[in-house]
């Protein structure tokens, strides 16, 4: 168990370093075990330096920087064992426009390389615009959900329709 965890740590850390730099368009980051003698009881710290900034613990980053760093961690685990489906529920909310773009670049490249199918819930127009297809979920009848296929133009209005 100990050896397997250390292997996983090394593997995920390699992915994390690469994904962080890809998502932030620069900078560097790594995963640190607080107690590498006892990996099974150890904590995991995320050390990161966005482009042009000093290296620090994740807790000192801004809200959006923390969210993007957490996404880099989630996908570094995902890449070590890609699954056929990935579901993301409003993970883009704290991100600014250029981080949303880079995040979607990453998702798109994963969907091409590992043929993973993504279901992505979002209120963000940029994200909607980059989907290959859109489904609107509506409650035309109060309390009763229905699914309809929509175009981007409709989708933006959709978010508006009660």
């Amino acid at each position: 168990a100990k050896i397997r965890l250390m292997e996983a740590y090394t593997n995920v850390n390699t992915n994390f370093k690469m994904l962080f730099t890809e998502l932030f368009g620069g900078g560097e980051a790594y995963l640190a075990l607080t107690d590498s003698e006892n990996p099974l009881d150890s904590g995991l710290e995320l050390m990161a330096s966005p482009p042009g900034k000093k290296l620090q613990q994740m807790s000192l980053l801004s809200g959006g920087e923390q969210a993007l760093t957490a996404m880099a961690l989630i996908f570094s685990v995902f890449l070590s064992k890609p699954s056929p489906i990935c579901i993301l529920d409003e993970v883009d909310a704290p991100l600014d426009e250029s981080n949303v773009d880079r995040f979607l670049d990453l998702i798109e490249s994963i969907s091409e390389k590992s043929k993973t199918r993504f279901l992505i819930v979002s209120h963000n127009r940029l994200t909607m615009a980059r989907m290959h297809r859109l489904y609107g979920v509506t409650m035309q009848e109060p309390g009763v959900s229905q699914l309809v296929s929509v175009s981007l133009k409709e989708a933006v209005k959709f978010d508006n329709v009660e």
Partner: protein, 167 residues
């Protein structure tokens, strides 16, 4: 091995049978607050064998069945079916099946029944099927609403657990 279809009936706000094609690439789910987007995510997690109601924003499993509205009567059962294409035969134990229909059904006060291609199986069998596909109701590949915030605010000990999925 691909996920191709999702069918929901009577689960939370999806009282009428709802069909979602799961196609290659990125599929967006959009709509106003409270219309049922996160309920779809929970339908999938439930189908994959999720055993804890609190992981599905429910007090007990009965809360997953359509509870009724001013215009519609409440239901007594719910069913979610996930269809998986196995043309490349990557699922060893289901070699002869080109397609698998995994169903989970619940009756009010009656517990859940699982079937794969209409053959009744145990919860464990379904959980193992999905684990072999590197997915499951608690997998990192399903990121719930608010979960990124929880990872950010979690203690280092908690975060190490994320690594265990890759082990």
């Amino acid at each position: 091995m691909k996920f191709t279809k999702l069918k929901i009936t009577g689960f939370k706000s999806f009282v009428d049978t709802t069909l979602l094609d799961i196609k290659q690439g990125l599929t967006g789910l959009v709509g106003p607050n409270g219309c049922g987007k996160s309920n779809i995510v929970e339908a999938i997690k439930w189908n994959m064998g999720e055993a804890g109601p609190s992981r599905l924003r429910a007090g007990e499993m009965n809360d997953l069945i359509f509870a009724g509205t001013k215009g519609r009567a409440s239901r007594n059962s719910a069913e979610v079916i996930l269809t998986i294409e196995n043309i490349d035969n990557s699922l060893q134990s289901y070699e002869n099946n080109v397609e698998l229909e995994v169903s989970r059904k619940i009756e009010k006060d009656g517990g859940s029944t699982y079937t794969i291609n209409n053959r009744e199986v145990r919860q464990r069998d379904v959980q193992i099927l999905f684990a072999d596909l590197a997915i499951g109701s608690r997998s990192n590949a399903i990121v719930d609403q608010g979960q990124v915030g929880q990872i950010i605010n979690s203690k280092p000990q908690e975060r190490r657990k994320i690594l265990e999925e890759a082990a």
